[in-house]
Symmetry: none
């Protein structure tokens, strides 16, 4: 295995564990055991556990944004693209590994003063907002900036709660409800 492959292998392994069981609950020993590498090998690739956390967040986000973009761009223009994020979530929710939002989960586990991780999370959400703004402006004509902002923020908030609450209630009703309200929002 090449250097960069090992690094990615560590990230994959850690991601599965962090996302499934939580950041604090997952120990370094568990990661190296599942990855099949030595402890110092891990520390040759990452300075601290927090660094692995950031790599995990970035990995999840990149993968997610690509999948989301592909999904929505594959839908017919209009309503199906605007509400595509909820339909995408319906698929995502069915995945047995679905466990809510990694950002929300992680931010709850780190101390408030950990700015590095907080920044990464905020940036990811800003990027999601940018993407949604793009989808909104592409699919609704003649919108004022204020209207675009309102709809974008609304869809974003509804999506975020649909993720959190479907996980919390262990049910998909929040996804359907969020989509309903979203449909009214873009009408």
């Amino acid at each position: 295995m090449k250097h960069s492959e090992i690094k990615q292998h560590i990230i994959n392994t850690a991601s599965d564990l962090f996302y499934a069981n939580g950041y604090n609950a997952t120990g370094i020993n568990e990661i190296i055991a599942k990855a099949g590498i030595a402890k110092a090998t891990l520390y040759n690739h990452f300075r601290t556990k927090d660094d692995i956390c950031i790599a995990y967040l970035k990995y999840k986000h990149t993968y997610f944004m690509v999948a989301l973009r592909n999904y929505i761009e594959g839908k017919p223009k209009g309503k199906f693209q605007l509400l595509g994020i909820f339909d995408f979530l319906k698929e995502f929710y069915k995945d047995p590994s679905f466990n809510g939002c990694w950002c929300i989960r992680t931010i709850a586990e780190i101390p408030a003063e950990n700015v590095e991780i907080r920044n990464e999370i905020q940036n990811q959400k800003q990027e999601l907002l940018s993407f949604l703004r793009e989808v909104v402006t592409k699919n609704i004509q003649n919108l004022s900036n204020a209207e675009a902002e309102k709809i974008t923020n609304g869809l974003y908030l509804l999506y975020e709660s649909a993720v959190s609450e479907s996980h919390l209630h262990q049910s998909d009703w929040p996804i359907f409800s969020a989509r309903d309200v979203g449909a009214q929002l873009i009408a």
Copy 2:
């Protein structure tokens, strides 16, 4: 101090620490040091740390529901009661100790198999949903059951994301956006 007073004193102390710094990040030693009691005293009142967690969640919830109910019932009927939860959150957000939703924060920290804490959290959210349903049916006439459910769920989801996202983005824009969408929902 009486027995029950000490118990409440422990809950208060632990609540502040859990809510501010997280459940796993807060150790028993920190709680007893801040509460000024011996370790075994704490364990005379609570069987395990998880039991303190449940007491913390219940305490936060009880306090919150009373304050929310009082706030909304003090508003004029109609729009101001229906959107009152967002106005309440604006006040709540200004509190320097505001740190997002204790349920969402806690659920991210405990293992999936911890059913006792999960149940407590789900029950709290169900109670909030019940309260919102009550507000909706009291303030909007001639609603079908389906319409009442849709509006209730919508307000609930918007409120939940307003809490999470204002905390995540360290800004109150999600509260205003959520209120805007809520206003359209009940129009």
Copy 3:
């Protein structure tokens, strides 16, 4: 309940627990919970946990010596009295609460410097030796002192290992073997 009755009630309760689960494994809290008394009540009757231990040993011993004496005196003179201790043990072994010798069990749990408990245990064994010597001299005629001592010590040692080893191996073969050797010893 009278003062002395409470004391005996504590001893009974503690004895069952000490004998079944061990001295160190049995906590004060377990004793008072099972006895249904307050903690300070226990400490009004006993200065320390070690004092309860001594009371437990004395209680077991007294009960045991009376039962053993009655059993042997109820047998026909000769072989049946001389080997009666093994037959008695066969009954004792069948008792579901049988758990080996309280002396051996207890001496393994206390520090070497605890002379009070050690003395009590040594005295109990001396008393058992005295009783056996009495049985031997009463049932075998024309014994020299040396012969009486040899047989007494032999029966004692065989009995002691029959207790220990039947418990250790969870089987009654040591009792039968010990009786066989004892039979040869008195032949």
Copy 4:
């Protein structure tokens, strides 16, 4: 120090303490302090304290069986081999660290449901029985199986009580008495 050396160093240290002061009375902190290692180092070598207990029992047993076998094989055939175990014990008893049988001591301290340790102890005693059976059949001609079994069990029981009782009474008379009875048994 090599890895296996440290492990053996831990076993040696823990064995001395367990055997001298008891299993429950000896804390992890005492072991690491005397061994001069860090707590986590100990836990890198042993999963739990119970695992150290088993290593202690095995270590004692191995050392003991080798010494016993050498001692007996060094004696002239016949009576001196058959009763060699008692002569061996006389030497063993003189050792200032003599503190009775580690099996009997340990079994008194662990809960009944601890099968792992119980099994180890029962196996050790079975191995001692096998060895004694071997000595008996090698040194007495023309024995029926039943006779061999009777003598083996008798010697075993006498040896076991000689260990326990010399320790309990802090005197070597039980060893001499046991040898006397053993001599009669093989006569």
